[in-house]
């Protein structure tokens, strides 16, 4: 479904070139839970941004359902991200002036998704907190709101970049389990440096210094 072919990402750090990804070949299969494991600085986040169309590969290509993501214009690429992808970031970013339910709705603001958003909050154990503003929620609750936001609209792929990094182990595991349980037919691509978070993964790849390890 998503295929990276010879994808490289090079950052220019002063005059030095930093290879965050070196000709990576990888495919995300529909419905799978793909874990990406690697030490800090190995290029995990960079790979995730490439696969999700948030960054342009310096060379190589990324396709989603056969369509080269970087041949789309900004609006089309954004539309793909909004309707087909879901995101959970390391920091639970929410809009401070919107309550939990409204923050979930940000992923799909059409009124038709309201009931689904409520149902998601319910199944994530947040039904009594849907009217609260982010500063009235705990860190774990905030991250669960982010999970609900990523799940809304049944995206084809959910990208999660260290979603557990700011949580204690138990809360972290819970977030991963919730993502895995509620993703339906969607794929889950999760980046982490903690192997214990990937117990339920269908497949795990390792990154080392921008390379996929065999």
């Amino acid at each position: 479904m998503i295929r990276a072919t010879g994808a490289s990402l090079v950052y220019r750090d002063h005059e030095r070139e930093v290879f965050a990804c070196r000709s990576v070949d990888i495919e995300v299969v529909p419905g799978e839970f793909l874990g990406i494991l690697g030490p800090s600085g190995s290029g995990k986040s960079s790979l995730l941004y490439l696969l999700s169309g948030l960054k342009m590969p310096t060379s190589g290509s990324i396709t989603f359902e056969g369509q080269d993501l970087h041949k789309l214009n900004d609006a089309q690429r954004a539309e793909t991200r909004l309707t087909s992808f879901g995101f959970v970031f390391q920091y639970p970013y929410l809009l401070g002036y919107l309550n939990a339910l409204e923050n979930v709705m940000v992923a799909r603001p059409e009124p038709g998704f309201r009931e689904q958003a409520k149902a998601l909050l319910f199944s994530l154990g947040l039904e009594s907190k849907q009217g609260r503003l982010p500063h009235e929620l705990s860190g774990g609750e905030r991250q669960r709101v982010c999970v609900a936001r990523a799940l809304l609209g049944e995206p084809k792929v959910i990208f999660a970049d260290e979603p557990t990094a700011n949580l204690d182990h138990a809360n972290g595991l819970q977030v991963v389990q919730l993502l895995n349980q509620h993703r339906g037919d969607g794929s889950l691509v999760m980046v982490t440096h903690d192997p214990s978070m990937l117990a339920e993964a269908d497949r795990i790849v390792r990154l080392e210094d921008g390379h996929l390890a065999p």
Binding site: S45, Y49, L54, K55, D74, A75, R77, A78, E79, T80, R81, L82, T83, F85, F87, F89, Q90, Y91, Y93, L95, Y97, L98, E102, N103, M105, V106, A107, P109, P111, R149
Partner: protein, 379 residues
């Protein structure tokens, strides 16, 4: 309701949007007030001397015996049909304007002329009576009575008054209801008591619409002569000339005001947009295009700016109404409370602020990297 809609943002962030609106309201209020009050000065000149647009005065300079000659010239040569030609006497007095005292003339007529002129001035009714022949009495118009706080029986001119001299106390015996300003007295009393003994001539065009034409002819005909033509055209021209410099200063002041307010607002908007960096980055990462986000912010800004301007205009009109009611009308000072030019002067405010907002928006989104923000590498 769409959580990213404009109303929800403006309402939930009232602590940011209201101060922005407040500054715009104050700016509009300030500009409207300054321009309206300054405009009220030339407007006062035109209102106070408006009566001269209904008749023309011609007077010899120095030599009293030139009057019959001038009269003959007008009767023979004036191309505009004459409504009435009256011989009168005059003395000077003052009225109170917002910026100080202004010269005004008490004109003394023969009784038939007085009746004609009162009608010409648009008098709808008279409280009291007309001055009796040979008596120290005067009829004044309603705005004059308000301006000088004169009631029936009060003294308009008197022997111990420097600026409103007459050998005897001249009493107000009539107040004429009309918007024009005038003070009229009896000619016989003037002929017997006032100096200099010069008759001057008041001429009206038969058709009031042709008064200006008559004035232009007289100004041309008596140019270089030892004759003075008193016409509304001249008064209007002098007023416009006199206030030219004032308006140049006004333009500079308002220009500076707009620039200062725009800079302030630009900085505020820039700070507010800076505080929203995380919001923009998150939304962009989730799948909102730059165009969508920029459109959203433009809508929010436009609503604040246009709303602030409209509110400012409403407040200005309300404030000018209050000023008019409490300060201007009781003294018969002229004030246009829906002054178009004052409103026009406020239009640069929203436009400049909106342009500043667009500029800051453009510089912010030109090289915006949502990943950098989401990763917390940049804030």
């Amino acid at each position: 309701m769409n959580p990213l809609g404009t109303p929800i943002y403006l309402r939930r962030n009232a602590s940011r949007t209201l101060p922005l609106m407040g500054v715009i309201v104050l700016a509009v209020l300030l500009i409207c007030a300054i321009v309206s009050l300054i405009n009220s000065i030339p407007l006062s000149v035109k209102t106070i001397y408006k009566y001269t647009s209904l008749m023309m005065g011609v007077t010899p300079r120095g030599e009293a015996d030139r009057t019959p000659q001038i009269k003959r010239i007008i009767e023979k040569e004036c191309p505009v049909p004459i409504g009435r030609l009256a011989l009168c006497r005059a003395s000077s007095t003052e009225v109170q304007a917002l910026v100080g005292k202004w010269q005004f003339v008490v004109i003394a007529f023969d009784r038939p002329d007085l009746e004609y002129v009162l009608k010409r001035m648009g008098t709808t009714s008279l409280v009291g009576r007309l001055p009796e022949v040979g008596r120290p009495e005067a009829v004044i118009s309603e705005p004059v009575s308000r301006n000088l706080k004169l009631k029936l029986g009060d003294i308009l001119l008197g022997p111990d008054r420097q600026d409103a001299y007459s050998p005897q106390n001249v009493k107000v015996v009539g107040i004429a209801r009309t918007s024009n300003w005038f003070m009229f007295a009896d000619r016989e009393y003037y002929t017997m008591n006032h100096f200099p003994p010069i008759d001057f001539i008041l001429v009206t065009a038969k058709n009031p619409a042709r008064q200006a034409e008559m004035d232009r002819w007289a100004l041309r005909r008596f140019k270089g002569d030892r004759t003075q033509v008193i016409s509304y055209l001249e008064i209007e021209r002098q007023a416009n000339e006199m206030f030219k410099t004032l308006y140049k200063i006004l333009d500079v002041v308002i220009g500076i005001l707009v620039v200062v307010i725009t800079l302030m607002m630009g900085m505020l908007i820039n700070i507010y947009l800076g505080q929203r960096t995380h919001e923009f980055a998150l939304l962009q990462a989730l799948g909102y295009s730059t165009k969508t986000l920029v459109t959203r912010v433009i809508k929010e800004t436009a609503l604040v700016v246009i709303g602030g301007w409209l509110l400012g205009v409403i407040c200005s009109i309300a404030m000018l109404n209050v000023v008019d009611h409490w300060l201007m009308y009781p003294n018969a000072y002229a004030l246009d409370i829906t002054d178009r030019t004052a409103l026009a002067y406020t239009i640069p405010v929203p436009i400049a602020i909106f342009s500043a907002a667009l500029l800051t928006l453009w510089t912010r989104f030109r090289r915006f990297d949502p990943v950098g923000v989401v990763e917390r590498r940049l804030v």
